[in-house]
């Protein structure tokens, strides 16, 4: 049993990580009322920046930082257009995704099919050698733990700190927040840049650890799944974790089903995690009251500032 379960759980943890990173960033952005649909584009930019940097310098840490920076750079572009110039957030986000895809494909043309240095896996004495728990929990690379740590930190920050309260307040009513003297636009910039950094990290994880190579559109829609997860979780960090693991589990379930020789078309199986996520999304959204209750009221709306 363990020889199936252990690799399965390891894979689920790994598959959930890019989603967790990107969705945590998007969650923070949406909690302050900014809908950034550019996650997919920021992830791809992060992936190629990380891969290229690691490839050229040979240092994976520099690669990770480059991915982070690329995500922030694209998020800054989004913030300037949608927050300062007040363009429509949905359209700007879509454009950002299109831009990120094209830009990463252009830059990445020379890197297709080249191997890159891989993020090292951690090895803790004793813990990593535990049977079952060791490989499942204590032999991943550092980004897997970072994703969980950041999610926990964000959850705590939003629920229990004054900063989190301000974030929620800005997302609930930017006019009221402004009237009370909170700087709405700078707060939103901060949240959007954080979202970009997280998407960039997710991209770096994809190209340096999950599938250590570069291929065009290698994120395969994970940015979109991350955006969907944020809604599916009704903007609550804990449910984000459940959703990411659920997606990861479905993804590997389909591989195992194939390996067991079940006669289902493989295209359908690869679509399963996406379909599954959509189905769950629909089931959850049936409870319109809960979505309405938790949805940041200002989501996607532009802030006019002082009249």
């Amino acid at each position: 049993m363990n020889e199936i379960l252990v690799p399965f759980l390891i894979s689920v943890m790994a598959a959930a990580t890019p989603l967790l990173l990107a969705a945590t960033g998007e969650l923070v952005a949406e909690r302050v009322g900014v809908l950034n649909l550019g996650v997919e584009g920021m992830m791809l930019a992060g992936a190629i920046a990380a891969f290229a940097t690691a490839n050229v310098t040979g240092v994976t840490v520099l690669g990770v930082l480059a991915g982070l920076g690329a995500g922030i750079a694209l998020a800054l572009l989004f913030a300037v257009i949608s927050l300062t110039l007040q363009a429509n957030q949905t359209a700007t986000g879509l454009a950002l995704t299109i831009f990120g895809r094209g830009f990463s494909a252009l830059v990445g043309a020379g890197y297709v099919g080249i191997p890159a240095p891989q993020l090292p896996k951690i090895h803790l004495p004793v813990l990593s050698d535990l049977p079952f728990l060791g490989p499942v929990l204590f032999q991943h690379d550092v980004l897997v733990y970072l994703a969980l740590a950041i999610l926990a930190a964000v959850a705590w920050c939003i629920r229990s700190t004054h900063m989190g309260l301000i974030l929620r307040a800005v997302g609930d009513s930017h006019d009221a927040a402004h009237a009370l003297g909170y700087a709405v636009v700078p707060i939103r910039y901060g949240a959007v840049l954080f979202g970009g950094a997280m998407a960039g990290l997710a991209g770096a994880y994809m190209s340096l650890s999950y599938t250590p190579m570069w291929a065009q559109d290698m994120t395969a829609g994970r940015g979109w799944v991350a955006v969907a997860l944020v809604t599916f979780s009704a903007w609550r960090p804990f449910w984000l974790l459940i959703g990411a693991w659920f997606f990861g589990a479905l993804m590997y379930m389909s591989l195992y089903v194939q390996a067991l020789g079940v006669a289902v078309p493989s295209a359908l199986l690869s679509a399963l995690p996406y379909i599954g996520t959509v189905v769950v999304l629909v089931l959850i959204s049936r409870d319109a009251r809960r979505i309405r209750l938790h949805r940041p009221a200002m989501l996607g709306l532009r802030f006019q500032g002082r009249a």
């Binding site: 004054h162 309260l165 929620r168 609930d172 009513s173 009221a176 003297g181 909170y182 940041p296 009249a307």
Partner: protein, 509 residues
């Protein structure tokens, strides 16, 4: 250095909006320890002026001197650091957050979070503004929301407290308690800039007044030395007619609206359940429903308008027709017209034109739609008639609803329903946040409709209004409605006692 000059002096304040000069060289001086009234109709520029003081709006020209220092308030945070607090009329609460969280956000720095709940409870009970810190604002009534705003300001220990219509949702006894609080605050050294349309209140509370009209100063006075009528006339620059008395409705008029044991569980978590409400309204009669905010008024309104179905068809009879199971459209067809409390977003779609808004509620009774197509000319003409008859100040039927001031939009919305000549009209808070001139026009329209034979129900928290309009008065408290009493045998005290009835234990019997 001891500074004995005025706390705040503003001169030459000018603010130009596109197409509207909101403030034209306005001046205002608030002394220390003074309760200063700012009077004026809606659209007179009071809000713009106080928003300038609070840093929400930046003036184009003018000088503001605060405690002897020339200042230019950059933003609300700056105003708070100077010691200026403001109770807003709209948009300063966070719906999804709790009372305590809302208040924490209003306190600079958030350093005093520890013990905040206790301070909220203490200040709110001390000042007669009961609040549960852990409730989510989303589920609170207008009156309760206003209490949060007041308590939030009081916790900041400001030197100047700006209050925009703070009493519009309080009971008479709560108003008296608030006045005690405000007088004490003034005595303790906090000046108060008090905006209100209730001239009687201003006369009893304020020691000075600045009156504005159309963006300009039109007078300063000591309110106690003027009569209510004189104040109103300076404000609107016209002689106010006395309200015309109405003949008594005849005894044998047949009932046009009947409620039979209406009982509805509120769909909101913290809403009020309606229990066993039975009423009968005759044609030509106006029934006033008094009550403190949050005692089931909005639930009653929803049940009457059909937004929440009332279960058994026989629970509600409109002109004898069982209507309990009907939705709003069918009830309108049966002869009912309704004006909800919230103008923006409930009574009117703010981003649509007046003509489109007229169409939305009147299309079936005025047959504005034929074969599924909008009869644009007829709709335009109908909206035009409302604007003309109700003296709605706007550029025309094509103007967006949100471009109108509160009073003008309310006149339009009441007019829209009255012009449909309904058998039954239900209005929730007909004149909330509306200036004296518009309120008078709305009252006259409602009375004229009743005189023409309609049954009218007024749900209002403003007792003065109910006493002016209603033939009979009932009180809603805790979701139950008391037996209506004729207005001539009722007193403010007897009604006020019923209003407080179910909420607190009444010590006096």
């Amino acid at each position: 250095m001891t500074d004995t000059g005025p706390l705040l002096r503003m001169s030459g304040m000018t603010k130009q909006y596109p197409g509207c000069l909101a403030n034209d060289r306005v001046s205002l001086t608030v002394e220390r320890n003074q309760i200063h009234a700012l009077l004026g109709e809606n659209g007179a520029g009071k809000s713009t002026l106080v928003k300038t003081i609070y840093g929400v709006v930046k003036a184009d020209a003018g000088e503001m001197v605060w405690e002897g220092q020339k200042v230019s308030v950059q933003n609300p945070g700056h105003a708070q650091r100077l010691g200026i607090g403001m109770v807003f009329q709209h948009f300063s609460l966070f719906e999804a957050l709790t009372v305590a969280e809302n208040i924490a956000l209003g306190l600079a720095g958030g350093s005093q979070r520890a013990g905040l709940r206790d301070r909220i409870v203490r200040v709110s009970t001390e000042y007669g503004l009961p609040l549960d810190p852990d409730r989510v604002v989303h589920d609170l009534s207008v009156g309760e929301r206003q209490r949060i705003e007041i308590v939030r300001c009081l916790l900041q220990n400001p030197k100047l407290l700006i209050m925009d219509e703070p009493t519009s949702v309080l009971t008479p006894s709560e108003v008296q308690k608030l006045f005690v609080t405000l007088r004490r605050l003034a005595a303790e050294g906090c000046s108060i800039l008090y905006i209100s349309h209730k001239l009687e209140e201003v006369r009893s509370l304020c020691s000075a007044a600045t009156i504005m009209r159309l963006g300009r100063n039109v007078g300063e006075c000591v309110p106690a030395e003027k009569s209510v009528k004189e104040l109103a006339e300076i404000m609107i620059n016209a002689d106010l007619p006395e309200p015309t008395p109405r003949p008594e409705p005849s005894e044998q008029a047949k009932p046009r609206l009947v409620l039979d044991r209406l009982t509805i569980r509120s769909p909101h978590h913290f809403g009020t359940d309606l229990q066993d409400i039975s009423l009968s309204l005759a044609g030509g009669e106006i029934l006033g429903i008094a009550g403190i905010a949050g005692n089931g008024q909005s639930e009653l309104m929803d049940a009457l308008s059909g937004e929440v179905p009332a279960g058994r068809p026989e629970t509600i009879l409109i002109d004898g027709m069982p209507a309990g199971h009907m939705g709003p459209r069918e009830r309108r067809h049966a002869g009912g017209c309704f004006v909800p409390e919230e103008r923006n977003g409930h009574g009117a779609v703010t981003t649509m034109s007046l003509a489109e808004n007229a169409l939305l509620s009147a299309f079936s009774r005025q047959s504005l739609v034929r074969f599924g197509l909008i009869d644009a000319r007829k709709t335009h003409a109908f909206a035009g008639r409302i604007i003309e008859q109700f003296d709605v100040r706007t550029t025309g039927p094509k103007a967006q609803a949100r471009s109108l001031s509160g009073g003008n939009l309310q006149k339009f919305l009441v007019g829209r329903e009255v012009m449909q000549n309904p058998a039954v009209l239900v209005v929730n808070q007909p004149t909330w946040g509306v200036d004296a001139g518009a309120a008078l026009a709305i009252h006259e329209a409602i009375m004229a409709l009743a005189q023409a034979g309609a049954a009218v129900m007024i749900i209002s928290q403003d007792l003065d209004e109910i006493f002016v309009l209603a033939d009979r008065i009932a009180v809603i408290a805790g979701g139950r409605v008391s037996e209506p009493v004729p207005t001539r045998s009722a007193t403010v005290e007897s009604i006020g006692r019923l209003m407080g009835g179910s909420r607190k234990e009444t010590a006096d019997a």
